[in-house]
Symmetry: C2
Subunit: 111 residues, 2 copies
């Protein structure tokens, strides 16, 4: 069985436009749950669910301030996600290079 | 309402260890659905579901060859996903720089 990894949480958290919009909003300043819910046009409960996913992925942290909960960005584990994408791209490029080389061989040297 | 975008499909497709393992396997060579299902230890039906997600994200394409279906990698839209991650990192770093500058201001010039 494949183990559940933090990279799963990172990619899954980013695969939703509302959650990416929350991260972009928090890039400007910290915000309360209701300040995040209102412009997104969703309920407080809905926003709390999204925030839980972002917190589990270490992309957001929150703390109770008085009667509201204030959220802010954390650096998260995006390096891992980025490294995976880079590795995948190299793999795809390598594979297409090998296919091209094989096609050239089949055709023989053009000169 | 936030629109459903291709970047959602890319991130969501990558947020699963079985799907990332399929991509890594296809990085070595193309493979049939059963060749992918067996080492993953999942049913053909389960693998087909994962492949559908990967195909919708333009990360894999497949074609019927005789009685089996052969899958191979496509370059996908990873550039978009990578650009988003880079932009987010810049945003987080910028935010932490601003907080640091603010703290320095509060403390006054150390010299």
């Amino acid at each position: 069985m494949v183990q559940y990894q933090s990279i799963d949480r990172t990619f899954s958290a980013l695969g939703d436009p509302t959650r990416r919009a929350v991260l972009e909003r928090l890039g400007r300043s910290s915000a309360t749950v209701s300040e995040l819910a209102q412009p997104a046009g969703i309920s407080l409960t809905g926003m709390k669910k999204h925030l839980r996913v972002l917190e589990e992925a270490d992309l957001v942290r929150s703390e109770k301030v008085g009667r509201s909960r204030r959220c802010e960005l954390t650096p998260g584990r995006l390096d891992e996600a980025r490294a995976w994408i880079d590795q995948y791209r190299q793999m795809v490029e390598g594979r297409f290079d090998r296919i091209e080389a094989l096609l050239d061989e089949t055709k023989g040297d053009p000169r």
